[in-house]
């Protein structure tokens, strides 16, 4: 579903991704772990199409499309979703209104009819209830003044409603209390299906206890350094990056 080949990305002239290759197949959950500053969020942003990153080499295919040639909204239409590490606060835009616009935009791009208001409300309420998001949060402005955990739940709510093919989760677990972690992980697990793939960026084994990955990658210095099964994450937990990769890459 997603094929990244030798991807090289610079930010303000500084190389961050230095030849990263990765293949994700439909129905699979891939975890990416790596030290702070190793380029995980950069990868996520480049895949989602955020400006400010210069791709200096390599290519990315999503399905049969050249992902990097698409506008951010076209990537969303094609089924890519990024749950952000730091969701943006947007005062003046009601959460509910935003959700409606997003769903309609995606329906339209996929050649479907816009969903009727009543059905939309029902869907949103149902998903919000499952994720422990109160009615009040839906009425508020998008992420504005939301707590860290509320923002993360709101990301998963959007993910559930937009029904993407590829879900990228950038540290969705950070800032969540133990119960919220459970709720959010359940939300992700409900979305697991043979057609859908996940790229889960995390620092902690705990999330992977709930969302059990098929593949674990260790990223450092802008590259995938090791790839393995779920046991690789446990090994990392025990030995740390230094033990696993040596002093130089763990920095």
């Amino acid at each position: 579903m997603l094929t990244i080949e030798n991807l090289q990305v610079s930010v303000e002239g500084k190389p961050i991704l230095k030849g990263l290759s990765l293949t994700v197949e439909a129905g699979r959950v891939h975890a990416i772990m790596g030290p702070n500053g190793s380029g995980k969020s950069t990868l996520a942003h480049v895949l989602a199409g955020r400006e400010g990153y210069e791709v200096t080499g390599g290519n990315v295919r999503f399905g049969d499309e050249d992902l990097l040639a698409l506008e951010p909204e076209e990537r969303a239409h094609a089924g890519l979703f990024l749950a952000m590490q730091y969701p943006v606060e947007i005062p003046g835009v009601a959460n509910m209104y935003f959700l409606r616009q997003a769903i309609n935009a995606i329906c339209k791009a996929r050649g479907q009819d816009e969903i009727p208001a009543a059905e939309f409300m029902r869907k949103v309420r149902e998903q919000a209830r499952l994720l422990g998001i109160g009615e009040e949060l839906l009425k508020r402005d998008l992420n504005a003044g939301f707590s860290g955990g509320e923002k993360k739940r709101n990301e998963i709510l959007q993910m559930a409603l937009l029904e993407p093919r590829l879900c990228i989760l950038d540290e969705t677990d950070s800032g969540l209390d133990i119960d919220a972690l459970r709720t959010v992980a359940d939300g992700v697990n409900r979305l697991r299906s043979p057609e859908r793939a996940f790229l889960v960026i995390t620092h902690y084994q705990r999330l992977l206890d709930y969302i059990v990955p098929d593949v674990v990658h260790i990223m450092a210095d802008g590259r995938i350094q090791r790839t393995g099964g779920p046991e690789l994450a446990r090994e990392l937990e025990e030995r740390g990056y230094e033990g696993l990769l040596g002093t130089k890459l763990a920095a």
Binding site: E73, V88, G92, F98, Q101
Partner: protein, 455 residues
């Protein structure tokens, strides 16, 4: 001295004199000697003051001569079908209103019946018959040294005389709708309104300026407000001039102790629109809140001038103006707070936030504080920013196209001011027009959401 003055002013186009000579005998109240004299004096004053140039500090950001100093005629009587005007009839079924087209009252769409005893709502033409002396006195008492005010005094055609007696709260909103139709020759109209609220009286005034038609048009409006102690005025202004239409609107007002004046202005369109306010706070406990938003694009300028005089202490004033500048649009804001000697315990605030959407747009902002008392709280601030790139990306990453995402964010910036409009129908009109203007295929859902929240 004279030499300096000449560089700051242009002589008015001779066509003004020709038009005044021709029209004077036909203007409202021309048969009444004091009124006719006031008009003559107004016109002489206009000639003496001349048309301001950008060397004049008050017009530094604005080249008004290109709009106003050229041959213009009052429009000939225009017949408009109801459906052209219907979208602008605001205030709901109980509203009272006066509708003017090119300065002429349209009785078929106006409705002032059934008002409580003591309330006066009449057109300027009617007031010139029923109260010529009071009208002459009101016209004559405003001399602000501004040429367009003098021009308005000379030519005043449309407009209204509105009075509420002490203690009366008018439940139904009152709308003043001014429609301008541009013609082949540039046309002008000069609405003059006098509004007086007695002690503790209260009114919601919906003032709407709408331009229909392609031709050039100038609306030169003056409103004189007087709020007696404890009076309350909610003043919603929606301004939708046509592309070649210009609007110069001056509000002069005095606010008595404990009065509350809340004004919200939404402007979309117009070649040059200048909203000037000069307000005097004459007692303690006054609450004066002025807000506005405008979205000038290419060929458009929105110019906001505010002067608030705290002549008595213990009152509160707040200015909150926003501009969104698209393409080659031009926004200017000059706000002044004057705290007079002895006006202690004054709270006065001013804020001008600008969203600049293109590299070609222009934003000028000039805040001024003149404070002659020591125990006061005053602040002013101005910001100028672009759309937040992170927010834009966030919306687009959820599938919302760039243009729609941009429209959503601009709307969010403007919505705070629109939300301050007191009347829901005014809010709906402003919303609909703003959303249409921003494009991006946003639909009524935005309006529904906002109104749903307001309800």
């Amino acid at each position: 001295m004279l030499a300096v003055k000449r560089t700051r002013r242009l002589d008015p186009d001779p066509a003004f004199t020709a038009a005044f000579r021709e029209l004077a005998p036909r203007l409202p109240g021309s048969a009444n000697e004091p009124l006719a004299r006031i008009r003559e004096e107004g016109f002489a004053r206009f000639l003496a003051l001349g048309i301001p140039t950008q060397r004049d500090e008050a017009w530094k950001f604005t080249n008004v001569a290109r709009i106003a100093n050229r041959p213009m005629r009052p429009a000939t009587a225009t017949e408009l079908p109801l459906d052209r005007v219907l979208p602008y009839l605001l205030g709901g079924p109980r509203a009272r209103r006066l509708v003017f087209v090119d300065g002429r009252l349209q009785p078929q769409w106006s409705h002032t019946g059934g008002l409580p005893q003591g309330v006066i709502v009449e057109s300027l033409a009617r007031a010139a018959e029923t109260r010529p002396l009071a009208l002459a006195e009101a016209l004559g008492e405003l001399d602000d040294g501004r040429s367009f005010t003098a021009l308005n005094t000379a030519f005043a055609d449309g407009g209204a005389w509105i009075e509420l007696p002490a203690g009366l709260a008018l439940e139904a909103p009152l709308q003043l709708l001014f429609v301008t139709t541009g013609g082949e020759v540039p046309v002008m109209s000069h609405p003059r309104c006098v509004l007086r609220l007695g002690d503790g009286a209260s009114l919601t005034l919906l003032e709407t300026h709408v331009g229909l038609g392609e031709g050039a048009a100038l609306t030169n409006a003056v409103l004189q407000l007087a709020l007696r102690p404890g009076a309350r005025l909610e003043h919603d202004r929606i301004q939708l001039p046509a592309a070649q239409g210009s609007l110069l609107a001056k509000i002069d007002g005095s606010l008595g102790a404990g009065a509350r004046y809340r004004q919200t202005t939404v402007l979309l369109g117009g070649a040059l629109v200048r909203n000037e306010h000069e307000l005097r706070i004459d007692g303690p406990g006054v609450d004066c809140l002025l807000s506005g938003v405008a979205v000038p694009g290419t060929g458009e300028q929105s110019d906001i001038v505010v002067r608030i005089h705290h002549r008595a202490g213990g009152s509160h004033s707040d200015q909150y103006f926003k501009h969104v500048v698209e393409d080659r649009g031009h926004a200017a804001f000059a706000g002044k707070i004057v705290v007079h000697p002895g006006a202690q315990k004054t709270n006065a605030y001013q804020k001008n936030d600008n969203l600049l959407l293109s590299d070609d747009g222009e934003v000028d902002t000039k805040p001024e504080l003149e404070i002659y008392a020591d125990d006061v709280k005053c602040s002013h601030g101005a910001t100028c920013g672009e759309l937040d790139a992170g927010a834009l990306f966030y919306l687009r990453s959820r599938g919302i196209a760039r243009q729609a995402a941009r429209a959503i964010l601009v709307h969010a910036f403007a919505a705070e001011v629109i939300g301050r409009l007191a009347d829901p129908t005014a809010r709906a009109l402003a919303e609909t027009r703003l959303v249409a203007r921003l494009g991006g295929g946003l639909d009524g859902a935005l309006v529904e959401t906002v109104l749903g929240e307001a309800a």
